[in-house]
């Protein structure tokens, strides 16, 4: 009958186990798979990430130099970050916030300055 | 590759299953595979002291297979599932859901079976 009493008394005097969420947020832990991010300037548009993605969330267009991810299809497995040869796709620790409508994020690589081309040529 | 796999015909099935029950085997489950050449493979898995024993029955797509649910009642769910997903014609089941255990009327019949799917446009003649 009084088996719970110890725990009850302990809970009365100890601090709450929960956080006051909107005012007090926990820092995301290291290496958490929050969402997929890309450093578009390093991307070579090889589209390995798009082929390996288990949920077909990534679309790569080599001609347009664009990289598109549908965050609402993504299952946060992190395979794209693992297979990327340039390591420009990575897992960002911060979770994606909820949204009112589904959308995809498109990144387009800006053309490199012409002077650089002249140097290499 | 599967250990203790015995190929039997569907006429032998009931007597084999009866003898498994007599030998105190536990019915694990049955798996159905569409081999793509008009045949279905049904594999019955039994377990005794964590050792599996398997029976493979090979039947034509519309052939009747006797239900083993009178011997092992627990095979009811899996037999209904095979009937729905593969169109395996299991007869004399202890509980027959009539094709509505997992699927509804609007769904495609036998979705796991290999079949040609023709999508008809609405309104097309």
């Amino acid at each position: 009958m009084f088996d719970m009493l110890g725990s009850v008394l302990k809970n009365l005097v100890s601090r709450p186990a929960t956080r006051k969420y909107p005012f007090e947020k926990r820092e995301p832990l290291k290496d958490t798979r929050g969402q997929v991010g890309i450093n578009i300037d390093d991307c070579i548009f090889c589209s390995i990430c798009s082929r390996k993605c288990p949920s077909d969330a990534i679309n790569v267009n080599k001609a347009e130099k664009s990289w598109e991810i549908n965050h609402f299809k993504c299952v946060m497995c992190g395979v794209c970050a693992e297979v990327c040869p340039k390591k420009c796709v990575d897992m960002v620790e911060q979770y994606k916030t909820p949204a009112y409508s589904k959308s995809s994020a498109k990144y387009v690589q800006q053309p490199k300055p012409a002077s650089q081309d002249n140097k290499t040529a | 590759m599967i250990e203790n796999l015995v190929e039997i015909s569907k006429e032998q099935l009931l007597s084999q299953v009866q003898s498994m029950k007599y030998d105190n085997y536990r019915f694990v489950t049955a798996s159905c595979v569409d081999t793509g050449d008009g045949y279905l493979d049904v594999i019955y898995h039994f377990d005794l002291d964590l050792e599996l024993k398997n029976f493979r029955v090979r039947v034509k797509k519309d052939e009747e297979v006797p239900s083993i649910s009178k011997i092992y009642f627990c095979s009811v769910l899996v037999e209904n599932e095979m009937k729905e997903l593969f169109g395996l014609n299991v007869t004399n089941m202890a509980i027959d859901y009539g094709g509505h255990m997992l699927l509804s009327d609007d769904d495609l019949a036998n979705p796991m079976a290999k079949q040609q799917i023709v999508i008809e446009k609405r309104g097309a003649k």
Partner: protein, 358 residues
């Protein structure tokens, strides 16, 4: 006496899972129960036919949210034995650690839900507060709380550092201590005993012939635990299956609570014995042939039947989840019991309907 039929579920406060039962009643007593499933059939087995076999690891993880790691483990072990891949020793131990963490969090979840089902709210919260510690370990080691995606064919995708292993050992000890404090409430409390002792008795003969697996079978006196076959690193660890004789809801609670302690001991043994080295080997080629893989999940035995045809797609992937095998025992237990006991009875099989229908 006239009979009436009461539909139980698919939406019912006692469990979030859409299990639907048609209960044929005589007064307050149940005479017959007919299960109706099919509310969450997602066709995952069909989906695996169009995905590559390496991608299927992530598909099978999503069959169940609670035992996701063990689904992936069973699948990977099946493919590995089909392709004759020898995974590194460290990966085998890492799999044991994550699998047992999953077992702890699944059983704590269940104990909390059971307390909630018989109306003991504060006990439910105490148990779930403990579970939160396991979830934090998961996020810290694997990067995700529930679907941890650390399995891959040929080993694991992540390693656990030495400091983290030591930290896990301290935390699982804390969980054990906290559960020891709550243990008398489950075992001796008058109200709890009143709701559990003698409710839903399943004899060992019935359990065996109805194909019960996991804690359901073990609570009825059947010593049947696939971990004793020694897959992954279980062959090198010391443990005995937890078996109870009575076969009632109380015995099932005892089995699951004691399995939490068993998992704590297994994790500590695995941490003590874990060798250094690689965590995965590269995989080449495609699977060809048939194989059956079985793993002990928190709810019981899961069976994977895999058939490859030499291409990167599998010809057939078939999953028999533990709840699928435990539903027939529910049909045996329900007739003859009172309507008020139905929530507790349904909970004691630890139903996972999204597992069952895949």
């Amino acid at each position: 006496m006239s009979r009436s039929v009461i539909p139980f579920g698919p939406q019912h406060p006692v469990l979030p899972e859409p299990l639907h039962l048609k209960l044929v009643m005589e007064d307050e007593k149940i005479v017959e129960a007919i299960p109706a499933i099919g509310y969450v059939h997602r066709g995952l087995e069909k989906l695996t036919e169009v995905k590559e076999y390496t991608q299927n690891v992530f598909v099978v993880e999503r069959i169940c949210g609670i035992c996701s790691f063990m689904h992936a483990m069973a699948y990977c072990q099946g493919i590995e034995s089909l392709m004759e891949i020898q995974i590194p020793d460290r990966a085998r131990y890492l799999r044991v650690i994550w699998a047992e963490l999953h077992r702890i969090h699944s059983h704590l979840l269940w104990l909390g839900l059971l307390a909630d089902a018989f109306g003991f709210e504060s006990l439910f919260m105490q148990v779930w507060r403990n579970r939160e510690k396991v979830m934090d370990i998961m996020e810290e080691t694997a990067g995700s709380r529930v679907i941890i995606s650390t399995n891959a064919i040929g080993g694991t995708r992540r390693d656990i550092s030495k400091d983290m292993l030591l930290k896990i050992r301290v935390i699982v000890d804390e969980i054990k201590e906290d559960m020891k404090q709550l243990e008398p409430v489950f075992f001796n409390d008058y109200t709890v005993k009143h709701r559990l002792v003698g409710v839903g008795v399943l004899t060992s003969e019935d359990a065996y012939s109805l194909g019960a697996v996991g804690p359901m079978a073990r609570a009825s006196g059947i010593s049947q635990d696939l971990r004793t076959t020694g897959y992954a690193a279980y062959g090198e660890l010391d443990f005995e299956p937890v078996v109870e004789k009575d076969g009632d809801s109380y015995a099932r609670t005892m089995v699951r609570l004691k399995e939490v302690y068993q998992s704590v001991s297994l994790i500590k043994q695995a941490i003590a014995n874990i060798p250094e080295g690689e965590i995965s080997v590269p995989v080449k080629g495609n699977p060809n042939g048939e194989v059956i893989a079985r793993v002990e999940q928190p709810r019981g035995e899961v069976l994977y039947y895999l058939k490859g045809n030499g291409t990167k797609n599998l010809e057939r992937l078939r999953v028999r989840t533990p709840t699928f095998a435990n539903i027939p025992t529910l049909l045996k237990m329900l007739p003859g019991s009172q309507l008020a006991d139905v929530p507790v009875l349904i909970l004691t099989i630890d139903p996972c309907i999204s597992c069952t229908e895949r």
